[in-house]
């Protein structure tokens, strides 16, 4: 396959790319640097290389239940959300990619509009709803709440992938005697595994980084890590070292997820009838 190797055609391009990536990494490296310094050194004076190296901040993180349990909470509801979003979005995306039905285009856009509501005021009714149905402060509650913005995205991405798969495959399977559910699970799902991987990544990502909704509908049992991080201010000021250590650790799960889906992204998708 003859992709032009940009490196050959544009010799400087690769260099510029890696320079950009290096710049991209600077704030992250700086955060990592902070996480292995004592607080006095962070606030004391500017120094490029940490003077004293300590892992106390990480030890605190993994021994203090408030920290590591909220870390686990985030992982649990984020994974739950990715699974649930996929389960409801897969059939819907199939319907959008294969059939025309009354109001299909409007439904598609309506789904998207749910990403567009400014959260500030909507948070109060969210709190009330989850309170009244008994999902307040549960992982399931946060997972359902995050479906609000992840399901539309999941439907959109999956629909884009599915539209690239010819309908003849469905028709052939039907002639071979496959029922729709059996065809969907046995033939169709394996064909779009890269779509599922990519969608799961985006769902994971948007759910993991969201703070406002997750913080509003939880208090203790399902409290997200990001919310715990907003409460490091004590009488002694902000504990920057611990905050930075937690920050570094919040990148880890996402980095693992992207590692698993990197080949699916590299395989390419165009998301639309080009």
């Amino acid at each position: 396959m003859a992709f032009p190797r940009s490196g050959q055609r544009l010799p400087w391009a690769r260099t510029v790319f890696w320079l950009y990536v290096a710049t991209l990494m600077l704030p992250l490296l700086w955060m990592f640097g902070m996480s292995i310094r004592p607080n006095e050194d962070i606030l004391g004076s500017f120094s490029l290389i940490p003077q004293r190296v300590t892992f106390d901040n990480y030890v605190t993180f993994f021994t203090d239940a408030a920290w590591y349990s909220s870390y686990l909470n985030s992982i649990i509801y984020t994974s739950l959300n990715a699974v649930m979003s996929l389960v409801v979005a897969l059939p819907a995306a199939y319907a959008f990619s294969r059939f025309r039905f009354a109001g299909d285009k409007h439904l598609f856009f309506w789904l998207l509009t749910n990403r567009m509501a400014p959260p500030a005021v909507f948070l109060l009714p969210f709190f009330q709803i989850y309170q009244s149905v008994g999902l307040f402060d549960t992982h399931l509650g946060v997972a359902i709440a995050h479906m609000l913005f992840n399901v539309p995205l999941a439907v959109w991405i999956l629909e884009g992938f599915m539209s690239g798969i010819p309908r003849e495959i469905d028709e052939t399977a039907a002639i071979d005697g496959y029922s729709l559910p059996r065809f969907f699970i046995k033939i169709f799902l394996p064909m779009i595994r890269s779509a599922i991987g990519v969608t799961a990544f985006f769902c994971f990502m948007f759910s993991w980084v969201e703070l406002l909704i997750a913080r509003t509908i939880t208090s203790v049992n399902a409290k997200p890590i990001a919310a715990t991080m907003t409460r490091t201010v004590s009488a002694a000021g902000v504990d920057w070292g611990l905050l930075a250590a937690a920050g570094v650790l919040t990148i880890v799960p996402g980095a693992i997820v992207i590692w698993f889906v990197r080949n699916y992204i590299a395989k390419g998708f165009s998301l639309g009838r080009v």
Binding site: M1, A2, F3, L10, V21, L24, M25, L26, P27, W30, M31, L43, L48, M84, V88, P91, A92, A95, F99, R100, F101, A102, L112, T113, N114, A117, P118, P119, A120, V121, F122, L124, F126, A145, L148, L153, W156, I157, I165, P166, T172, I187, M191, V198, V209, T230, W240, A244, G247, T250, I251, G254, A266, K267, G268, F269, S270, L271, G272, V274
Partner: protein
Amino acid sequence: MSEQTTVAGSQVGGEVVPATPAGGSGAAETRADPKPRNNRAWWLVLPVVVSVAFTAVIPLMTVVNFSVQDVFSPSDRIFVGLEWFRSVTRDPEVRAAFVRTLLFSAQVLLLEIPLGVALAVVMPRRGVWMSVALVLVALPLLIPWNVVGTIWQIFARGDIGLGGWTINNVLGINFNYTLDSTDAWITVLVMDVWHWTPLVALLAYAGLRSIPGPYFQAAQIDGASAWATFRHIQLPRLRGVLTIAILLRFMDSFMIYTEPFVVTGGGPGNATSFLSILLSKIAVGQFDLGPAGAFSLLYFLFVQILCYVFFTVLTRSGR
């Protein structure tokens, strides 16, 4: 190289499925005959409608109810008609924040979309460097938004942050985002570019990788320049992914809240007080649910209109 991009004629569950009659790559996407009309497809979308409606419709109704009343408590409230809409749309602070947010979104789109596409073009395409590049580029996306704010709050500080320190001491420019409005704006903008360009880059990269090789061979035979290849072969085929990228970036930048709130808190003065920050001040700070409700609805209306325009233009153009 097995860089099969479309699925036509590929392996299916162990058995080979015949390719589309038209064959070749991308043919499936341009099939002429329309999709069959079948209203039973509604059963397939029902779970989505139910799950989203649960969290979307009830809050929307509640906010509409807030917007026409002065609410002290559920039992103690007064109907005020459209009064809040009148006061919100005439509030100079709201109008200023609106212009500021619009300007910010425009700058975000103008910077991030070209930069993201450019990155995608020069990103390595195979081997271990491809993996490394993808993971590193995606990292900023995976950081909780308040942590992004915290990172930049420190990083841009002139005394203890690498970024701010370098600008002050190496470049010799006086930079202080807590005192100077321009510096604060630049900090928030650079932070957003840092944070979100990777999303555009990832989507554009995937879009580029889906372009079948023969297109490039044809271009090479014709002796097309790198720019011509990009302009006439790559860019048109990025429409699908760029539609998503532009819509997501517009929505999220127009509603940006957490990051600037952590870094600047809307200041200095009002320099970075975007609509969402102002809205939060009214809704959470002063607990004025009525004005905040009216504010939210107008905000929502505007985002929806712009998204509809983008969506329509991007998906229907060229048809």
